[in-house]
Symmetry: none
Subunit: 142 residues, 4 copies
Amino acid sequence: MTQLTLELANRVIAEAFKKASGLSLAPLSVVVVDAGGHVIAFQRQDGASFGRLQIALGKAAAALSLGVSSRKVADMAIERPWFVGSFAAGAPHPVIAAAGGLIIINDAGAAIGAVGITGDTSDNDELCASTAILAAGLKARA
Amino acid sequence: MTQLTLELANRVIAEAFKKASGLSLAPLSVVVVDAGGHVIAFQRQDGASFGRLQIALGKAAAALSLGVSSRKVADMAIERPWFVGSFAAGAPHPVIAAAGGLIIINDAGAAIGAVGITGDTSDNDELCASTAILAAGLKARA
Amino acid sequence: MTQLTLELANRVIAEAFKKASGLSLAPLSVVVVDAGGHVIAFQRQDGASFGRLQIALGKAAAALSLGVSSRKVADMAIERPWFVGSFAAGAPHPVIAAAGGLIIINDAGAAIGAVGITGDTSDNDELCASTAILAAGLKARA
Amino acid sequence: MTQLTLELANRVIAEAFKKASGLSLAPLSVVVVDAGGHVIAFQRQDGASFGRLQIALGKAAAALSLGVSSRKVADMAIERPWFVGSFAAGAPHPVIAAAGGLIIINDAGAAIGAVGITGDTSDNDELCASTAILAAGLKARA
């Protein structure tokens, strides 16, 4: 069973920045959290606005706390805005319903953590997240 | 010019009130914050209701934490209400998605603070903010 | 019955800074609040650390919410730390139990607002507060 | 040198871990924040408990919000527990009154950010912070 170490978390962040650099994206902020949604590592690129930890963490926590990608939480928010809104208001962590947060799973399919990315479009944020997870030898929940 | 001093902050507030007076606007409240969103100066005109610091600060902090004017945050809120709503719920500061909050930048384009105004229509609030920033010899992010 | 206008609030702040300048004190931050503890005006001098609004406001609000100067709230905190600690934890505003917060009263002795000052020693903060209230033609609760 | 870049922040963290490794300390968590107390980078070593971001950030924010090292905030807390306790209760960020949080200053002595470290004794946490700041070519407020 894969353990999400600091070394792996740092590698996920490095790979996300590498992908973003190749695509000339806006300054990104990337968080990697453990299965409990607690931050292992975070980096905010120069020029990013100061609220980025909350957004990156909110995407990762939205994913883990509801068991799906933060893109699917965004879909939920369109279908049932009151559900996601009230969940966010009552949660002990930020909940950001927008693509860019992906759950990292082990071989048994269990969540071992998540990555949350913010800074460019939500689609590009998520693309960097999925690319980085794979490049670090990890697996994202579909 | 890269430092937002108290003297400059007070001048921004004075210029905003001057503009508002010329237009006979409702009582305004104006906050000037540093790059981290922390209050340098605030003034609430007689007759304004008591929650005005939170609103003015929430416009300035919405702008700085997301890197755009609070008018653009309001646009985001129309397109993606769940994103702005959940960001506001999880942010460690008030987030007000309405025009009237503008980022002040240095010559290199980096944020050195922000102004937030509330009291009249959001359009008039923002007009006073942009006029005041210019009149104080400062520059707002477009 | 004296009304605490923005003009008076600004004068209190100016007088506090004048007193502090004469004494070569550290950079001060001064808040003036209305009878409900809501900010009318605040100024933070250059070089002051960023948490100063919370401290200044916490002194003013400690005074008003308990009906005595924040110096007396500090005395209470020594005698009954659990009372002040739990009051602070449950209050909807910061509560700072240290000298520097004084209630401003009208001729009938009723609270019309308060001033809170932070930046130098608590004794000096309070000296600037009492001096400024008098210099602005107002009266502090003893 | 007046800007705390992500590159510098990462170097501070790497130097802190290097020092800790040389001393065989317990797993550390290190945060580097900008002048407004907003996280630039954070890393939590394997084996550290999950609340470490709040503690590291609380040390850095305690330092910046009050303008002194978090060791001095701890001294304040011994002399005036009600002051620090009530400040912590009212602050919009965690406030941890324990050594390990140091302000990083520019050549003019102004705060440009802070580092907060937690995991071993507070003395060792602070030793790693001061060593790391120097090793990264930066300067800490005494």
